[in-house]
């Protein structure tokens, strides 16, 4: 089996029968509850999500500005002093620790804190959508390829090979740059170049093989098990076997993959946006904020530190939580 991408842990190899004393889910929950680190990092990720969801409230009630509002020639009062948001030589103000420009401004005089939260919304939204796309496509492909084998497996596996042949970041950049100007027009489906669905689609498609491959392997193993034979003997059709026998046995694997893919999707989105192939200007994302900030470092280091730390918090949170879930769901762990 091809190894999973960097940062992703292997899924549980097989589902063990439930030990006496509770269902597998109940046991998993007990294990999860015992892991304080898992809960703490899950909480950290949840906190980041909550903060980002509150972005409009923060912008309206506290910062009194939107994420794309420029304040280049304006001034702000800090501790009785009147400071320029952007100096005449183009240096933005640093953190004021007050309601306006709490985390400073960027080169366009935009409130970094507001953009950070809105950027987080965009990053998480893209990450979540991408994960959804990845999981839907990967489950579909993995299950069909593993269950039907033969020609179906051959065609689908070669398709995965094609995607897998490209490093994710390069494939993402290629797709992102190609679609960044004109958007996507498939006749029925039209996506504007500024739509968040575009980076979500790109990131989602890029990661499909990394989930579909292990799932296919697991389906290949499961389809030889007695309970599948029993279902066939009872005269169940393919769809029923897939829906009622196979998928339930894949659930824990899928559940484990979700946080891991989410972390990877957020990271890839940030990378693509940093390179100009993800979320498009002037919409913020943590990746675009890093790209905008890097040219002003070290003079305005906050422009890099702030989105960078937020990205680390989100990815670390969801990754450690995902690891904990994997351990909890894997009886051997």
């Amino acid at each position: 089996m091809t190894p999973p991408p960097p940062g992703m842990k292997s899924p549980p190899a097989a589902i063990k029968p439930p030990p006496a004393g509770g269902s597998p889910w109940r046991l998993a929950w007990r294990r999860l509850a015992r892991s304080r680190a898992t809960l703490a990092f899950g909480g950290l990720f949840l906190a980041v999500v909550m903060l980002c969801l509150l972005a409009p409230v923060y912008a309206r009630e506290i910062a009194h500005t939107g994420p794309n509002d420029n304040h280049i020639t304006e001034t702000v009062k800090v501790g009785g002093k009147t400071l320029e948001v952007v100096s005449p030589t183009g240096v933005p103000i640093g953190p004021t620790w007050h309601s306006r420009f709490f985390l400073g401004a960027d080169a366009n005089g935009r409130d970094v804190a507001v953009r950070l939260l809105y950027g987080g919304r965009n990053s998480l939204e893209v990450g979540a959508l991408a994960t959804l796309i990845t999981m839907l496509l990967a489950v579909l492909i993995g299950v069909l390829a593993g269950y039907f084998r033969g020609v179906t497996d051959g065609v689908l596996s070669r398709l995965l090979d094609v995607i897998w042949a490209f490093p994710p970041i390069l494939l993402g950049v290629a797709l992102g740059v190609a679609l960044a100007v004109g958007g996507l027009d498939l006749g029925v489906v039209k996506l504007h170049s500024g739509s968040l669905l575009l980076p979500a689609l790109i990131v989602g498609v890029v990661f499909v093989p990394y989930v579909a491959r292990p799932l296919r392997g697991q389906v290949l193993s499961l389809r030889r098990r007695e309970f599948i034979d029993a279902a066939r003997v009872q005269g169940h059709g393919h769809m029923r076997i897939l829906a009622s026998e196979l998928l339930p046995n894949l659930t824990s694997t899928i559940v484990v993959f979700i946080p891991l893919m989410l972390a990877n999707a957020i990271l890839l989105e940030a990378g693509l946006s940093y390179l100009g192939a993800g979320v498009q200007d002037p919409n913020p994302s943590w990746g675009t904020m890093l790209a905008e900030g890097i040219r002003l470092t070290p003079g305005a280091i906050h422009l890099v530190l702030v989105p960078g730390l937020m990205l680390v918090a989100a990815v670390l949170g969801v990754n450690v939580f995902g690891d904990g879930m994997r351990d909890a769901l894997d009886a051997r762990a």
Partner: protein
């Protein structure tokens, strides 16, 4: 010339690290030789650069579009090629207005021009040699012009539009240009024009009109540029990374008056991160910062504190503006165009450019004959904008809510301009989104009416030659083309066309007599709000400590004159 800027900075951190490592290795390995070469400047003063002359490192943010003179049309290309491909005429190697003066290059004198302004007669200097040792012939001039046309030089319209038979040659209807006659025996060269064109001599001063041997292949040679006549020759081209300017071994004997022989070998490195480039020059690990780039505001304080004696801001004859497509909504409405001009806060745009932009409203910049002196029609560009008026105009125009794509490229501050501009358009009632295209593809993308037809976007234009005709090709209806469109606002104004027809033939020597008419035309253009001018660029002249900062000429057409670059 449309100013090209560095490509997207996405690789910049990696490039910076790799480059820094390479520089450390190179300097540590060659430290002794560079020290010894510093003491050889007297030898090079004799006229011409030799292998033992010191080597100075020049940084460029964007690679030249081509180092083949028949193709190169970017500021970065001209900066190098004008020292290696001298034409029949060239510019004085001087700063300021003096640098715009034309002097004989490979011709013995400035040409005689017929009374009708349509025939130019030159005589080629005798005994000239190319950098490869071949003898220069008068007929090589015709070949150089043919080559520039055939290979598609970016400004070939100045040749095909005026030289008799050049258009037919371009279209493949003729094997040579009938309007150019050359006599190798006498050195006589005659150029016939279809109509008088005032700046034609300036056109012949382009490096593209610099002579190359007739044996030069009729194909692009960007990585192995052809032989030329000039103080330098271009060698060791590594695409998108570096190239060298070495002394032309045959130049010293030629010693054309007014063209310095140079003092140093030049190593040009492409560094796409201007922060890194500025730090290298500040720390003396490179010698010259790219004048097309901006020293980041966060470094300016340090530059002023540590390097005030080797940093200056030089005004350039260039204009930055947002084009407004007059053939598409919403800017087909003059009221909408006026609204943009009212709403832009040029002070903000100047800050985005690190304070290097002089707010303005006219297309013709300061330093260009015809620059108007009157007040701007839509408010003082150095004062606060009139957003309220702009909103009213958008409402009156019926364009409120119209979607607008704002085009720009990723290089700072052009992306920041676009973000700011989009926020302004949204604030006055339009619905703007930003489209960023990689720097290398940007001119071709926005110049594509057929497939893209951009509504508005950023562009900068710096003079190709000191004549307002150059700037007005941007609003000349004849410049509109489905691809490679230069008239981005797609202006087709009868008044502009009739004035251009009347003013274009005025020769450079009589340009002063028509300055009031150019001023009136430029005021008319501003009134019609065909473009929204941001301002005029000031650029950094920034060198290392070891460079003689005072001796380095900042040329008004070609920027830093590397032939004047020397050690203290």
């Amino acid at each position: 010339m449309i100013k090209r800027s560095r490509s997207s900075g996405w690789l910049s951190p990696f490039l910076a690290i790799v480059l820094a490592a390479l520089l450390v290795a190179v300097f540590s390995a060659c430290g002794s030789s560079s020290n010894s070469s510093s003491s050889t400047t007297n030898a090079s003063d004799a006229g011409g650069v030799t292998a033992s002359s010191p080597t100075l490192t020049v940084l460029m943010g964007t690679a030249p579009d081509s180092l083949d003179p028949a193709l190169g049309a970017s500021t970065q290309s001209y900066e190098a090629t004008w020292l290696a491909y001298t034409g029949l005429v060239t510019y004085t190697h001087a700063s300021g207005a003096a640098g715009a003066e034309l002097i004989p290059g490979l011709a013995t004198a400035l040409p005689t021009i017929s009374a009708d302004g349509k025939t130019y007669t030159f005589v080629l200097r005798k005994g000239l040699l190319y950098s490869n040792g071949q003898a220069v012939k008068a007929s090589d001039f015709a070949y150089a012009i043919e080559r520039a046309i055939k290979l598609g030089w970016g400004n070939k319209q100045f040749l095909t539009g005026y030289i008799v038979g050049a258009e037919a040659f371009d279209e493949g209807k003729a094997h040579s240009i009938s309007g150019i006659k050359a006599n190798d025996a006498t050195g006589g060269i005659t150029v016939k024009l279809t109509a008088p064109f005032g700046p034609f001599l300036n056109v012949l001063a382009f490096p593209a009109a610099g002579l190359v041997p007739a044996s030069t292949p009729m194909k692009p040679l960007p990585n192995d540029p052809p032989a030329g006549v000039g103080p330098y020759m271009i060698t060791h081209v590594v695409p998108n990374q570096s190239f060298d300017m070495a002394g032309n071994p045959h130049w010293a004997a030629e010693a054309i008056a007014g063209i310095p022989g140079g003092h140093s070998n030049i190593k040009v490195n492409i560094v796409s991160n201007n922060q890194s480039a500025a730090e290298q020059v500040l720390n003396n690990s490179a010698d010259v910062f790219d004048w097309n780039d901006t020293v980041p505001g966060t470094l300016l304080g340090q530059v002023h504190a540590q390097a005030s004696s080797r940093y200056a801001q030089e005004p350039t004859v260039s204009t930055e503006f947002f084009f407004l497509n007059t053939q598409a909504k919403p800017f087909s409405s003059q009221l909408a165009r006026e609204a943009v001009n009212y709403a832009l806060d040029r002070r903000a745009l100047s800050r985005l450019d690190g304070g290097q932009l002089t707010p303005a409203c006219y297309l013709l910049p300061i330093g260009m004959p015809g620059h108007p002196n009157g007040p701007c029609p839509y408010g003082d560009p150095s004062a606060a904008p009139n957003t309220t008026k702009a909103k009213e105009l958008i409402t009156q125009s019926g364009m409120a809510g119209t979607s607008v794509d704002v085009w720009s490229e990723p290089h700072p501050p052009h992306k920041e301009y676009a973000d700011y501009y989009a926020s302004v358009l949204n604030a006055i009632g339009l619905k703007a989104t930003v489209k960023i295209v990689a720097a290398a593809q940007y001119p071709a993308t926005i110049g594509n009416i057929k497939n893209v037809n951009p509504q508005t976007g950023w562009i900068a234009f710096s003079q190709d030659f000191p004549n307002p005709v150059d700037f007005y090709q941007l609003l000349d209806a004849e410049s509109i083309s489905p691809t490679e469109n230069h008239n981005l606002s797609q202006v087709n104004d009868p008044h502009i066309q009739s004035e251009l027809a009347s003013l274009s033939p005025v020769p450079a020597s009589k340009l002063n007599s028509v300055v009031p008419r150019w001023q009136a035309l430029d005021e008319y253009t501003a009134q019609k709000a065909y473009i929204a001018v941001l301002g005029y660029d000031n650029v950094p002249k920034f060198t290392s400590e070891r460079v003689d900062f005072g001796a380095l000429v900042f040329h008004p057409v070609y920027g830093n004159d590397w032939s004047t670059l020397q050690l203290k």
